[in-house]
């Protein structure tokens, strides 16, 4: 654990709370297993002693800003999380002046679950392009750390080369495991619809039945609704209780959006996301 980094975060948080600049600071604290991290909301200066930052801080805390729109809050963000801030600014879900962003230079996070801390960096960290948050009000800096420069989309390409029926059966089996807990949706900062399509009664897209066809609709359409919006934090995959490889789904669309529209989500708080705009002349495979 980098104690210098943590002191910077704690001092900044304390200043913000003591001065009343923010109502609360959303950060990380030690979980009940004494090993991993969990989100914490510090509302009093004394509470900042609980703040930590280490390689178990996998959670994307930006989601919580959507529950706290009425107050100014501070949030601790890793580079990937900062892209979420840009996404939500772009989609007018949060106002820049109601967020104080405590950015952290991140050496990557490891696989974690309760009472378990992995040894290797998460797949998303191995291909991460950013060592510093893209937007912040205060930067807590770490010494630069060598991170493996993995090649993007290797596992997607591997899936693409498999015969189509192998892919079909793979995904059918995965969707069978889904129990529709919606943890993937609830943890995702990009999923904030007041009424999710899966809960709509009219038109009835999915319904409450937990069965392969319904699960397939749910999974595919959630991924599709995130096309061009998902910033690849892979939190959905982490929280899934039955280990569905959601990253394999979302990254495919991320790759397609990049190839077709030369666009990556969360880099810019301004501008038009690809599915909200168009070019009059563009070749997307449907030429006459």
């Amino acid at each position: 654990m980098d104690s210098e980094l943590i002191h910077q975060i704690r001092n900044q948080a304390c200043d913000l709370l003591e001065s009343g600049t923010v109502k609360g600071v959303i950060g990380y604290e030690r979980a009940s297993d004494g090993l991993t991290a969990r989100p914490v909301f510090a509302y009093e200066p004394a509470a900042v002693e609980r703040l930590v930052f280490d390689e178990t801080c996998t959670h994307n805390l930006v989601k919580y800003l959507l529950d706290k729109k009425a107050e100014k809050m501070a949030v601790v963000v890793k580079p990937c999380d900062s892209r979420t801030i840009n996404l939500l600014l772009n989609e007018k879900q949060i106002k820049r002046e109601t967020v104080f962003i405590i950015g952290v230079t991140c050496p990557g996070v490891v696989e974690t679950s309760w009472n378990y801390k992995g040894q290797t960096l998460q797949a998303r960290c191995q291909t991460c392009q950013f060592s510093k948050p893209l937007v912040y009000d205060f930067l807590a800096e770490h010494e630069p750390v060598e991170r493996p420069k993995g090649e993007l989309y290797l596992n997607i390409q591997e899936m693409e080369t498999k015969p189509i029926m192998v892919r079909r059966n793979f995904w059918l089996e995965q969707f069978e495991h889904c129990v529709r807990c919606y943890a993937c949706r609830q943890v995702c900062p990009g999923c904030y619809c007041p009424q999710c399509f899966v809960e709509q009664l009219d038109p009835l897209w999915v319904g409450i039945r937990i069965a392969p066809k319904e699960n397939e609709l749910w999974q595919i359409m959630r991924a599709f609704h995130l096309a061009g919006r998902c910033i690849g934090c892979d939190e959905c995959q982490r929280v899934c209780p039955v280990d569905i490889p959601l990253s394999l789904l979302n990254r495919k669309l991320e790759k397609e959006v990049k190839e077709l529209f030369d666009f990556q989500a969360g880099l810019n708080p301004e501008g038009q996301p690809p599915l909200a705009t168009f070019k009059k002349e563009e070749e997307l495979g449907f030429e006459e």
């Binding site: 897209w205 359409m221 168009f278 449907f286």
Partner: protein, 136 residues
């Protein structure tokens, strides 16, 4: 009785161009593969990817979405959005095991009755060769 495999095809045709084009094929007495069931929508841009996925789930072997030529959309931009959205969807469905050849996107104007007939017959032939969706 023809016992060979007959693909089930669903077509989403935009009201202003493609549907009229299909109608023209009819009034001109042009024959084309009868496997298609046509649904009239106001614009190709209105076609929700969920609808297409449901078609495949409910037994469609192929889905055709047809709209006005880019630049001629009755609502100015609907077909541009359809073009982007369906390009993504087609690649994504292929990745999920629904062959990209099963989702066809075409631009048919109101006067292109002959062309509509050719498109549908051609699509149906392709689908017959591909086989039922549940098996490929």
């Amino acid at each position: 009785m023809n016992l060979e495999y007959q693909p089930k095809v669903v077509g989403f045709l935009c009201n202003w161009c493609s549907y009229v084009g299909a109608d023209m094929a009819g009034t001109s007495r042009i024959s084309y593969a009868p496997n298609i069931r046509i649904l009239r929508v106001p614009c190709s841009g209105r076609v929700n990817p969920m609808l297409l996925l449901k078609c495949f789930q409910q037994g469609a072997d192929g889905v055709l979405v047809s709209g006005c030529h880019p630049g001629d959309c009755h609502y100015n931009e609907g077909n541009y959005h359809a073009r982007r959205s369906l390009a993504l969807l087609r690649d994504f469905l292929d990745y999920l095991g629904i062959a990209k050849e099963r989702l066809r996107v075409e631009w048919v104007s109101a006067s292109e009755g002959q062309r509509f007939a050719e498109i549908v017959s051609n699509f149906t032939t392709e689908l017959t060769k591909l086989g039922p969706r549940s098996e490929s």
